[in-house]
Amino acid sequence: MATVSLKNLVKKYGSLEVVHAINLDVADREFVALVGPSGCGKSTTLRMIAGLEAISGGHIHIGDREVNNLPPRQRNISMVFQSYALYPHMTVAENMGFSLKIAGRSQDVIASAVADAAKTLGLEELLDRRPSQLSGGQRQRVAMGRAIVRHPDVFLFDEPLSNLDAKLRMQMRTEIKKLHAKVQSTVIYVTHDQVEAMTLADRIVIMRDGHIEQVGPPEEVFRRPATRFVAGFIGSPTMNLHDAVVGDSKLIFGNGDTLPLPAQFRDRVTAGQKVIFGLRPDDLYPTGHGIHSGEAAEVHAVEVPVSLTEPLGNETLVFAEFAGQDWISRMLNPKTLRSGDKVELSFDLSQSHLFDAQSEKSLRG
């Protein structure tokens, strides 16, 4: 068990810098998810921690050891690859026991460790098969088995579920969570899927273009996104984000439509400031169909035309037009709406976000 700490970690490919001096401290037994759009440097960061990629600057500590120049085999880590990376010529049992065999453990130790892992992952029946005889989900399990057999200090996952179909992905997500509760190791988990990050991690690290945008528990990055980017990345459906200019106690949108300036931002903006207004679909609902049962303090209602609806059963996403833009709202206990209908939308402004248009940073305190 160990902590992981990155200090001013840099990666350059030639003259191209893809990871820019990032800092991150992962606590012992913590489950941290690195999330961000593809190409933002998540895998590169993970591979530097693993030792598969040389670092171009900064420091990496695992526990109290600086591992900057140690080869992967001396870092006591396990990694699960996106493509599983199983050894095609070995059976499932041999795949899982390989690290122990290399470490020179006895046959008995290996056999019992493999049996343990197989039991945890439900692989007992498959131990004599080769990877080519397994389904995607089974290969995924073997890859995880291979990782847990050696009781590493740190588990590294690089998009382990992205090659699975949606149903299997959800199932494996649950299993990974159970597994973490059981093995109690430090985990660094890379994914481009924010739902995966939200559901699994103790803390989420949101990356963008080789920078860290925000670090925090799922609840916090959801409730209090530090930047426009995080606000747009976390949450599904995505937050409504529209440009506006601060007027006298109001926000003026491009076409002249206005909303009252939310109370919490009154002292934080100046008239004429260009901002981005953000409101999650959960906080924008046809009046009477919102999440919050008691009407919140700061609700502003506007009648707008419906452009499109997406019924999901227990709720319906309503796309409506306001201020010349499309807004997504979430309607609970849905009633039937057709495009062209007029609907009264409630804007729960107490839940709204404002970002400076220039810096894209949150204007919240």
Binding site: A50, R73, M79, F81, S83, A85, Y87, P88, H89, R146
Partner: protein, 298 residues
């Protein structure tokens, strides 16, 4: 022939059958038959005398034949092993090259572009004890003070032939193994690193099993090559000195054309072909096993 009308598909295939029969089946049967006769090129009517297995009996008691047979197997064994090791080494080096790999691959194939006859002449010149490059170099460097009789001493001549053979064909192994290395998925290697492997262990447990099938393909091809080796030996030593480098096919051609004993030569040839088939079957078995091991989809 009126009234006999073969079906169209028979008619259409007929030319192919006729050609195949004329150029493959008939000569094959004829040569097989002649190995049961005392056929001599100088006395054509001997082909009608059937003598059963007498050529074969004679062969099996013939020390000269078995010496050539053994020498061929020896040449094959040493050359294959050497080429395997050198080819593997070359392939690993070239695969590591991040720049100019294309050029290196092309250069690597140069030896294959020369006719074996020319390779024979070239090495004959290089190993010449008087004017050869090798002796001159050795003497200029002060490594020896007298000419080494490369092609005159039996053992040295065999070694010289071996060197020429290895030089000309190591690239077959290198190319096949390189193809294997390039087709290999990189993730298992990374997994091995994380699993604690040293570079040597990664090679032993991950890389090697993967490229083994490719090595076996090269071995099959090269074993056939060497089992029918003729030109390089013919040019460099012509089986000499005193038949010390006589291999199967130099012996067979000598028996057939110089001694004009075609029947006997054909008997030898069939034994030689049997040897080739043996090696092919052996390596194909290994190949199938190795392929199954890595779960190859080709």
């Amino acid at each position: 022939m009126r009234g006999w009308k073969p079906a169209p598909h028979v008619l259409l295939l007929l030319p192919a059958f006729v050609v195949l029969a004329a150029v493959v089946v008939v000569p094959l049967l004829l040569s097989l038959y002649s190995s049961f006769t005392p056929f001599r090129l100088t006395r054509p009517d001997t082909i009608y005398t059937f003598i059963g297995f007498r050529n074969y009996q004679r062969l099996f008691a013939d020390m000269e034949f078995w010496a050539a047979f053994g020498r061929t197997v020896l040449l094959l064994t040493i050359a294959l092993n050497l080429e395997m090791v050198l080819g593997l080494f070359l392939a690993l080096l070239v695969e590591k090259a991040t720049r100019g790999q294309r050029l290196l691959r092309t250069i690597m194939m140069f030896p294959m572009m020369f006719s074996p006859i020319l390779v024979g002449f070239q090495f004959k010149f290089m190993f010449n004890d008087n004017i050869g490059l090798v002796n001159n170099a050795l003497q200029s460097l002060g490594l020896t003070d007298q000419a080494i009789p490369w092609l005159i001493d039996g053992k040295l001549a065999f070694t010289s032939i071996l060197i020429a053979e290895v030089w000309s064909s190591t690239s077959v192994f290198a190319i096949f193994i390189l193809a294997g290395l390039m087709a290999m998925p990189k993730e298992p290697l990374e997994a091995a690193k994380v699993d604690g492997c040293t570079p040597l262990q990664s090679f032993r447990y991950v890389t090697w099993p993967f490229i083994m099938p490719f090595a076996f393909i090269a071995m099959t091809i090269r074993s056939l090559d060497i089992a029918r080796a003729y030109d390089i030996v013919k040019i460099m030593t012509d089986g000499g000195p005193a038949k010390r480098t006589e291999i199967l096919w130099t012996l067979i051609s000598r028996t057939a054309y110089s001694d004009a004993r075609m029947g006997l030569a054909n008997a030898m040839a069939y034994v030689a072909i049997f040897l080739s088939i043996l090696f092919t079957v052996m390596f194909f078995r290994q190949l199938a096993k190795a392929r199954q091991q890595i779960g190859a989809e080709w």
